[in-house]
């Protein structure tokens, strides 16, 4: 199980993560920021990393089930 977080101080609401991994992220339309869904923990790691790498502000942090940081936020 992965632990996925979005740093709201960095997110600018492009929605790219929700497009790439719709089972893991959704855009909060009130605040225009992305938030990880509970299902993100079960999502395909490769997809999560693609969303994280593609994030223009590098707001996404992905930690593997063994505690290894797979992608660090900026």
């Amino acid at each position: 199980m992965a632990r996925v977080t979005v740093d709201e101080e960095l997110c600018v609401g492009t929605g790219d993560c929700a497009r790439i991994a719709p089972t893991a992220f959704v855009v909060d339309e009130e605040r225009n920021v992305s938030i990880p869904l509970a299902a993100a923990a079960e999502a395909d790691i490769a997809l999560l990393l693609r969303a994280a790498r593609n994030c223009p502000t590098q707001a996404i942090r992905v930690v593997g089930d063994d505690g290894t940081v797979l992608h660090e936020s900026a």
Binding site: L10, C11, V12, G13, G15, N32, A74
Partner: protein
């Protein structure tokens, strides 16, 4: 790799530090202490760039981008690329290629400005070429103003920009503002739903100003300049990229006669041509930042107020990432999964070009097999459309580079010829 120097801004020396390595530039683009808030008197004051989203920093920048990025989400991109642009593209080309001998720069701007104006929230008649040319006039003025740090005569640019900004406000922004303000008021009174509001930047700004002080949009002039920024950004660079794509493609097609037909037939190849073009000919070859505080990039200490120059054009040709033929035009080059085909040409970090997916579409999948949701970007559509009409360099008129700035990848004239329309060809 980095090197130091000094420039004079308004007669006082400023330390400049230049980076030309890919990793160092990426690090700089994400550094929170490096802003695009240059010396106000040199860059912003009296200029259309004053207080616009591409200049503001920190919380204000974040708040603006969150509001404005709603117009760049996948559903909006899909609508523009799959429905609106194809409808405009062929009709416009029919009208703009009647003369056969055409300046491709003007053609590219006219093709781009229709949807850029729509996204910005500027009412116009897409059938009225006179009105579209007027919008393009403002695009050109704002483009010069945004490159003022590279201008050979900054005072002349500032005077020109002030006049253009005033005319733009009177002719286009205020009439559009009035109708959108009315819609926003009706929405606030509960008379219409959110889905009935116009989908554009101007409406988004009017709907949110006042509700969030971090937006810093109390001043009407800022709203006008912000809308102008999106009009310019959505028009000028797309046209320049179209020209540069053809300027690279023409000699490549001389060496490989089947290339033109393959690009016309394969939209993903057309997209790769656009991405390779952006890598080799970035519209902003050197991105600039200012140090808000003492900071460090790639182990180099950057003093507060230093001008940091990010030499993207050099980094984009790093053979370590792009192969031993990094200087060559090769839209099929193999790349690691985490390296963008356009390299650093859209910038990166919080200020990454918001129109990246509009012009360039989504990243090309490494398999070269796009899924049904893939978008190719509007420039790929333009490229295919002009190639289909037989575009070729005009042998009697040389192309002219835009020498008003030091951005050497820009053109002011690119004369081309088109084939006669099919129905006019004798049987």
């Amino acid at each position: 790799m980095s090197h130091d120097g000094e420039v004079l801004l308004l007669d006082h020396p400023v330390t400049t530090i230049t980076f030309d390595g890919y990793d160092a530039i990426r690090e700089a683009l994400f550094n929170k202490d490096l802003s695009r808030s240059f010396d106000k008197r040199t860059y912003a004051q009296g200029n259309v760039r004053d207080g616009v989203v591409s200049i503001v920093h920190g919380a204000t920048h974040r708040a603006r981008r969150r509001v404005e990025n709603t117009e760049f989400r996948a559903d909006r991109l899909r609508l523009y690329e799959r429905e609106l642009f194809p409808a405009v593209l062929e009709t416009m080309l029919d009208r703009l290629t009647v003369d056969r001998a055409v300046n491709l720069f003007e053609l590219g701007e006219l093709l781009s400005v229709v949807l850029a104006a729509r996204r910005a929230g500027l009412d116009h008649d897409p059938e009225d070429l006179g009105q579209l040319r007027r919008l393009v006039h403002f695009v050109d003025a704002f483009s010069q103003a945004s490159a003022i740090l590279d201008a050979r005569d900054p005072d002349a640019v500032r005077a020109m920009a002030r006049q253009a900004w005033a005319d733009f406000e009177a002719e286009f922004v205020r009439p559009s503002w009035a109708t959108r303000n009315e819609a926003v008021e009706r929405y606030r009174r509960g008379e219409i739903g959110a889905e009935e509001l116009p989908h554009d930047i101007l409406t988004a700004l009017l709907a949110h100003r006042g509700s969030d002080p971090r937006l810093e949009l109390d001043d009407d002039g800022r709203v006008v300049r912000e809308v102008g920024t999106y009009l310019q950004g959505g028009t000028h660079t797309s046209s320049q990229t179209l020209i540069n794509a053809l300027d690279l493609l023409f000699p490549a097609a001389d060496r490989d006669p089947g290339l033109r037909d393959r690009v016309v037939a394969d939209r993903l190849l057309a997209q790769r041509v656009v991405h390779e073009t952006l890598r080799l000919r970035p519209t902003t070859p050197k991105i600039k930042r200012r140090a808000e505080a003492d900071t460090t990039v790639a182990g180099r200490r950057i003093p507060k107020d230093a001008l940091v120059v990010l030499d993207v054009a050099t980094a984009n040709r790093d053979p370590r990432l792009f192969g031993p033929d990094a200087d060559e035009f090769n839209p099929n080059r193999p790349l690691a999964d985490d390296v963008a085909r356009w390299a650093l040409s859209f910038g990166g970090g919080p200020h990454q070009c918001p129109g990246r997916s509009v012009a360039g579409g989504f990243p090309v999948p490494p398999s070269f097999e796009p899924d049904d949701d893939h978008l190719f970007g509007l420039v790929a559509y333009m490229l295919q459309a002009v190639l289909r009409r037989g575009v070729r360099p005009d042998p009697d008129r040389a192309a002219v580079r835009d020498t008003r700035t030091e951005r050497y990848t820009r053109w002011s004239e690119y004369p081309v010829l088109f084939d006669p329309p099919r129905e006019a060809v004798p049987a």
